[in-house]
Symmetry: C2
Subunit: 170 residues, 2 copies
């Protein structure tokens, strides 16, 4: 993380300083196995001072521009998984008042086990939850990380769109 | 925004520095009028260098602990609206790898017009979209701010839960 301070002209014409937290583009992956279970990774989040279950997420390295490759790497590193099928779920902006963090979300399926390769700075647990249970966790506050919440909600809505009696009206 | 640098012990036992972007607790409001339209506010987001349509959002002042009061103030300040009915939609964490930003989301209805009172540093436009259109904007990337996306998706899922043929299976 790097913080940049720019001298700017505010909308009212006055001078100002705008601090931007520079974060490299990142990815998040909803990975679903053949039993319709979602891979959740858990770690202590120092910034918010609590343990957090999330979808596998991570940042790109400098110069990396193919977010799908980043997603493949993060899914392997954090969850020890490789996926055959990838679907892009769009990008979201986090903390856009202060940061340039854009996270691209994916749905991954056709999973198989691969070598896990954590950073030494990371200590990450993995659990599997039925998709409906993971969605419930996002609804009731057991999952609070916002990209994970948005991605799980999105998959739920996409699924309902495929059902004639579901959320099809949207 | 303030950045704090803590000396920490990493999971691998080594010493490290953990930078935390300190952001005061914030709120986001899905405000829906009697025609089932959602209030969206638009502004230039300097950090991501583009214009962004979002739900009304904002941060608390130092010492404020009642997020509902913050939500009422932000809805008035940014959209010029007062709401009779408030429903809490839970809290989400943004950028939890680097920031302590927790945003509490609300659904507001029973809307009436009140005085708008923008910060001099803000230049904010307002538009109304039918709920289904706003949801579509969040699905197709015209709304990318992640708290807005998560909140709109959540309301869509809550609505479908009330319908026997909707997402009730979740």
């Amino acid at each position: 993380m790097r913080v940049r301070e720019d001298e700017v002209i505010r909308p009212d014409g006055g001078p100002g300083i705008y601090g931007v937290v520079e974060i490299r583009p990142s990815v998040g992956v909803v990975a679903i196995n053949e039993r319709d279970e979602v891979a959740l990774v858990g770690q202590w989040r120092y910034s918010v001072n609590r343990y957090s279950w999330e979808i596998p997420r991570g940042g790109s390295y400098p110069g990396e521009i193919d977010m799908l490759e980043v997603a493949k790497r993060e899914l392997a590193e954090e969850a020890g998984l490789r996926a055959e099928h990838w679907q892009r779920l769009g990008s979201v902006d986090n903390c856009n008042g202060v940061a340039d963090d854009t996270q691209t979300l994916y749905l991954a399926s056709g999973l198989s086990i691969t070598a896990r390769n954590l950073d030494p700075e990371e200590e990450i647990a993995v659990q599997w939850q039925p998709f409906e249970a993971a969605l419930q966790m996002a609804m009731d506050g057991r999952i609070t990380e916002v990209c994970s919440v948005a991605a799980l909600f999105r998959v739920a809505i996409m699924r309902s769109l495929k059902e004639p009696d579901g959320l099809g009206k949207y």
